[in-house]
Symmetry: C2
Subunit: 365 residues, 2 copies
């Protein structure tokens, strides 16, 4: 079925499994984050890897975002083609062909890229650029993934960049590990360490004549703490827009309804037996890397036993299970890789499909 044909459809008539966003909830989430930045002079640049949809990116920018982050070159291409004009690639690239693809993106799109080694600088310097590129040195602020290991290594890169004729725009200082810490005290401690490390890098680079203009980082799990600590001037939260079970469990603000789950998977009960209801959404409809999806509006019902195209709902204390042939909504545990499983998001209001958004950056590397 073509996306256009689905507009105006009733939610209950959609073929399942179907990815649904509740527009009222999405809009409230988008406005809540934007309100945190209004009048602060601080920038927010939501990570589009969370949703992969041009339509959500446009709404974020309309509410004040300076642009978006992407995680792959093909994501940058997809969002640039969709009209997004300021994109930071928060990742390192070692493939010369991918650097060439970045260089071919129209000049009207501002692009930034991360580096953490001389190899990255060399590849960027070797490419033929007819457009500017903003260089961000990624620093390992505790995530233990990419990034330079200490400020002196970052300074060496800044000097090498200068020698190669490249201009340093800022620092990428994102701590992925900190985002998902459930214990508020531990998260506070880790974010404070992250902020101190970040300041240390800024100081070292500034003292040596390479002041980073933009210091970018943070996610939905740490944004409130990061705003208090003041080490960043650009914020990359992505999940806040749609939310998921994992981030709902973190509740960074202590205010449980601040960001609400806007994203669900609509599934059908295709088979039933005493104590179980089998739904048509399994490993190919949910990313289960961090936990199980949670049925919405079904207290005492849990999801499990996922196989490729099936999952099983079971009940606790004889709570009612949905009947065969009915629909159920489930909140994904991890929104980013769950969205990557689908072709489109159905944007629903009052039970009707208002828009259908192609997940244009799905499977794009």
């Amino acid at each position: 079925m073509l996306n256009h044909d689905l507009i105006g459809a009733r939610e209950e008539d959609l073929p399942t499994p179907a990815l649904i966003v509740d527009l009222d909830i999405l809009e409230a989430n988008l406005e809540r984050l934007a309100a945190r930045f209004a009048g602060t002079g601080l920038r927010f640049r939501p990570h589009a890897k969370a949703h992969k949809c041009v339509e959500i990116a446009r709404r974020q920018i309309a509410l004040g975002a300076v642009g978006i982050c992407c995680q792959t070159v093909a994501e940058v291409e997809a969002f640039a083609a969709g009209g997004i004009s300021d994109i930071l690639l928060t990742n390192e690239i070692t493939d010369p062909a991918k650097i060439t693809r970045l260089a071919a993106i129209p000049e009207g799109v501002r692009i930034g890229i991360c580096v953490d080694s001389v190899l990255h600088l060399q590849l960027i310097a070797d490419a033929i650029w007819t457009r500017p590129i903003d260089l961000y040195i990624e620093v390992d602020v505790g995530g233990g993934r990419c990034g330079t290991a200490d400020p002196q290594a970052a300074l060496a890169l800044a000097r090498e960049a200068e020698r190669l004729g490249l201009t340093l725009a800022g620092l990428q200082a994102y701590n992925g590990k900190a985002q998902h810490l459930r214990d508020p005290a531990e998260r506070q401690r880790v974010v404070e360490t992250t902020a101190a490390t970040t300041r240390n890098y800024v100081q070292t680079l500034s003292d040596a004549g390479f002041p980073p203009v933009v210091v970018s980082g943070a996610g939905t799990g740490t944004v409130d703490l990061d705003l208090q600590l003041g080490a960043l001037n650009e914020f990359q939260c992505g999940t806040y827009a749609l939310m998921d079970v994992d981030y709902l469990a973190i509740d960074p603000s202590g205010d449980a309804d601040r960001y609400a789950p806007a994203l669900t998977v609509l599934a059908s009960v295709i088979s039933a037996a005493p104590g179980r209801a089998v739904i048509d959404a399994g490993l190919k409809s949910f990313a289960l890397d961090s936990g199980m999806p949670v049925p919405r509006d079904l207290p005492g019902v849990t999801y499990g036993n996922a196989s490729d195209e099936h999952g099983i709902l079971r009940n606790v204390d004889s709570q009612p299970l949905p009947a065969i042939g009915t629909h159920v909504h489930l909140i994904p545990d991890h929104c980013d890789p769950t969205i990557a499983l689908y072709e489109r998001i159905h944007a629903v209001r009052d039970g009707l499909v208002e828009e259908v958004w192609p997940i244009v950056a799905r499977g794009k590397w």
Copy 2:
């Protein structure tokens, strides 16, 4: 990049992460299974949910498969459009619109569907059919998912089908749980129970005048045992073609190299630090529901710490890690949902891309 432009490319020039199938290994796997059935009078009908590619289905049929299995209506549509002319939908459908879509598939394609309740029969009977449909009663042979609970329930369905003017073609008797049992003795015991249960259903239905012509089941994990036990006359193994870490660990035959891993993800090392190499393949490039992918040709190197677009290789006992900028192959832990993450498979021989196969049934429900 268009698929056609990739043909003839060197594997090492592909943008990563890229899904690769080694054609020599695939062909050997396909031939090994086909050889088990040659001259037996038994049928094999590989499950196409494992690979989702018309090109692999065609090769399976060319080697003697009677057709394929699919798990969703949209998969049936995709494979029918690709020229596959005999498809069993090994699943229950409760959506009338999906039944209507099945009824609209050209008559030249033979189609079967599973049922386990009167609701399914009623929906099929209510649809307007201008083509035949083969009805399979699914039986719960121990998997605890879909399927009738006992032979009397199956008999009641057979009678109701007759009353509705529908013709019973056979039984779906697949035990998903049995496929992944690591302990050979336990697997043997479970498969024997499955076979006894299946025979019991066949006896009950036959005695009542509803002999199932086709009794279909088995997977890569149990096919050898199922062949010995003789309760089935059609076999649905799918993973054998490409294999994955999970099924390699089972080794149903005791002959470790019988089915070899044909499928890998090619990834790039995009960042490196002492003791770790960060690759560009994470949660959006691997399904991690059952375990981690295994780096190929890198003894003592493990994959972990997956995030959306990153994974980290670490070494045991100071084994060498791949250097930044180099490529690595990883064998997925679970091939079916991993393949569902990609747009295409690069079919490679001697280091060159020989064909590019669109994963046409990806995300199709």
